[in-house]
């Protein structure tokens, strides 16, 4: 694990170029003049204290929000002028939310198919793919269960399976072990390792946990909306 925000060489999957995000309603500067690069197949952890701007950065990287200034490039294409951010989210990015955000009235098999509806996959291939992914996260026997009938760790695995639905190159995870016990957390991290090593996914994980960060190839520290060194973040 390196301890730097300097990217490795090569064509980046994501490039953040002098990005700022200011919320005008509260005149809050969440991010200020941030520049970063994320290489294809990289496993990166973003750490920092609460309110440091981690989630804001994740929202911008995930095309959920737009920067007030600067530009983000996905696969070399600027996101600011792109009117199809929905398509990018559907096909290029998988989200794993801290509280999983599974749809309570849908079964695990159906939850996994939700992003596939956005990508316009055919119904039969949706079901086939969802079953494959349930097997991948070792939940094939829970296909017909509702989220409320699953343990917290199982819900997290369903959320990871859903993030992989359209086989995106990038996975964004917000505090993926924040709501899990140590065993379930370890299982989730092992799954991330496998996705990174065996499937070549680019992983960007926001975390407070040193254990999670230790598994990443690179850690980016953030404080008061700026990229800082580890020492400065801890100060």
């Amino acid at each position: 694990m390196s301890n730097s925000h300097r990217p490795a060489a090569g064509a980046p999957l994501l490039r953040v170029d002098r990005v700022s995000r200011i919320y005008p309603e509260g005149a809050v500067t969440a991010l200020l003049d941030v520049s970063l690069e994320f290489q294809k197949g990289e496993y990166v952890a973003i750490m920092g204290p609460s309110g440091s701007g981690k989630s804001t950065l994740l929202n911008l990287l995930g095309a959920l929000d737009k920067p007030t200034a600067g530009e983000i490039y996905f696969d070399g294409q600027p996101l600011s002028g792109n009117r199809n951010l929905d398509v990018i989210r559907a096909e290029k990015i998988g989200f794993v939310f801290q509280s999983f955000h599974l749809l309570p009235s849908l079964t695990t098999l159906q939850n996994i198919q939700v992003p596939m509806l956005a990508a316009g996959r055919k119904p039969c291939s949706r079901v086939e793919r969802a079953r494959e992914l349930l097997e991948l996260v070792a939940l094939g026997h829970r296909a017909g269960h509702l989220p409320s009938q699953l343990s917290v760790g199982q819900r997290q695995r369903v959320a990871i399976a859903r993030a992989l639905a359209n086989d995106p190159p990038l996975l964004l995870a917000d505090e993926p072990t924040g709501n899990l016990d140590s065993r379930a957390g370890a299982e989730a991290l092992a799954l991330f390792d496998r996705l990174h090593r065996q499937h070549g996914k680019t992983l960007i994980v926001i975390t407070h946990s040193a254990e999670v960060a230790a598994r990443a190839e690179r850690v980016i520290w953030i404080r008061d909306g700026r990229i800082v060194t580890r020492e400065a973040a801890a100060a």
Binding site: R89, A90, F97, H101, V114, P115
Partner: protein
């Protein structure tokens, strides 16, 4: 899983609210069906009464939309009968009366001459037809006689005057079966309109059938009739169908039916709007998840709109069934059933379903737009 599957889940998981919303729509559809059905039925019944009595044209005062107030000198009848292409003329006086010491009100009564085509075409079920010497006599439709419990030979009190029941007739429809027929001069006396009729029912010569140009010539000849001083009599001669469709009474019934239906539809529509808006506001975070997972604004809007349309469709189905039961129920309820004959045609049913779709579309449009325009980040933060 398809989009409609998610839509179904969303509607089904709030069962009580969905059921109540559907009930509101069903009530609106049932009300529309019943009221529009009744007004269509009234129109159809009126037309049947003319056509069944061989009336091709109906002559009334031009410009008088309220048919019961039309008043024409009955001596014009023979002049119309003498026109080329006219086979017979039946003078007719109509009114609404109360019967049974006021227990039945708004009963239609028609006064016809004994030798007219209308009187001669009555199908007698009991007793006999009114003859020229039957002054003070009366005939009742079967339903009316049954409602009053009257038998041939008994007395019937109309507007406080006593008449003798000469015969009971089988009417052409429920409307006629709940009506009274008297001799023309008896009704003129009763209504204090001696020598006056509301209308002439004109039967055309058989060779004019399917000849609109020649019918038009007859109509023009009737409308051109003038008094000895050369002043136009101001008559209109309309084909029976058009006459049946253009009366003020029918127009009023139609307007009231649509007006009341519009109120019911508005209530149903606002109910649906409220339900869908609540549903969207309760699911802000969930909609945020859909958007975060790549659902386009249009897909989210389609989902909400489909939910509204699904509620409407279920409401429409229940409303059509409910409306049908409602009108059937009313038909078999006391004297009202005898007066009203609903017309549940495909047109009326299509109207009801269109109303439901309209409610669904309008009630779902704003919530759908609101859901689609939610900020993804704000929606995901929403608890």
């Amino acid at each position: 899983m398809r989009l409609i599957g998610i839509v179904g889940h969303n509607v089904w998981r709030r069962k009580a609210r969905s059921a109540l919303t559907c009930s509101g729509i069903a009530l609106a559809v049932a009300t529309t069906l019943a009221l529009v059905g009744f007004s269509s039925g009234l129109e159809q019944s009126t037309l049947e009464c003319y056509e069944g009595r061989a009336a091709d044209l109906v002559v009334a005062h031009a410009g008088v939309t309220q048919r019961l107030t039309s008043s024409i000198d009955e001596r014009i009848g023979p002049r119309i009968a003498a026109l080329p292409g006219v086979r017979a003329v039946n003078p007719c006086q109509r009114d609404m009366v109360s019967l049974g010491e006021g227990s039945l009100v708004g009963i239609p009564v028609q006064g016809w001459p004994a030798d007219g085509l209308a009187m001669q075409s009555l199908v007698v079920a009991e007793g006999r037809r009114l003859g020229a010497g039957d002054h003070g006599g009366v005939m009742l439709g079967q339903s009316l006689a049954a409602t009053l419990g009257k038998r041939v030979g008994e007395e019937v009190e109309i507007e406080l005057q006593k008449f003798r029941l000469v015969g009971i007739f089988a009417g052409l429809n429920v409307y006629e079966n709940m009506s009274v027929v008297t001799l023309l001069d008896d009704l003129q006396r009763l209504m204090d309109r001696a020598g006056q009729v509301n209308e002439f029912q004109v039967t055309l010569a058989p060779d004019l059938a399917g000849q609109p140009t020649r019918v038009g010539v007859v109509r023009a000849a009737i409308e051109a009739l003038a008094d000895p001083e050369g002043h136009h009599l101001g008559l209109s001669a309309l084909p029976a169908r058009r006459f049946a469709q253009t009366g003020a009474e029918l127009g009023l019934a139609r307007a009231m039916a649509w007006g009341t239906s519009l109120i019911a539809v508005s209530i149903g529509g606002f109910g649906l709007l409220n339900t869908m808006l609540m549903s969207v506001l309760e699911r802000v975070a969930e909609i945020g998840i859909f958007r975060a997972l790549g659902w386009r604004e249009s897909l989210v809007a389609r989902m909400i709109l489909l939910e509204a349309l699904l509620l409407s469709a279920v409401g429409a189905a229940a409303g059509v069934a409910g409306g049908w039961l409602l009108v059937r129920g009313i038909m078999y309820t006391g004297w009202l059933g005898g007066l009203l004959r609903p017309e549940l045609s495909w047109t009326v049913l299509a109207t009801g379903v269109s109303v439901a779709v309209l409610i669904g579309g309008l009630g779902g449009l704003y919530p759908a737009k609101r859901a689609a325009k939610l900020s993804v980040v704000e929606a995901l933060r929403y608890e």
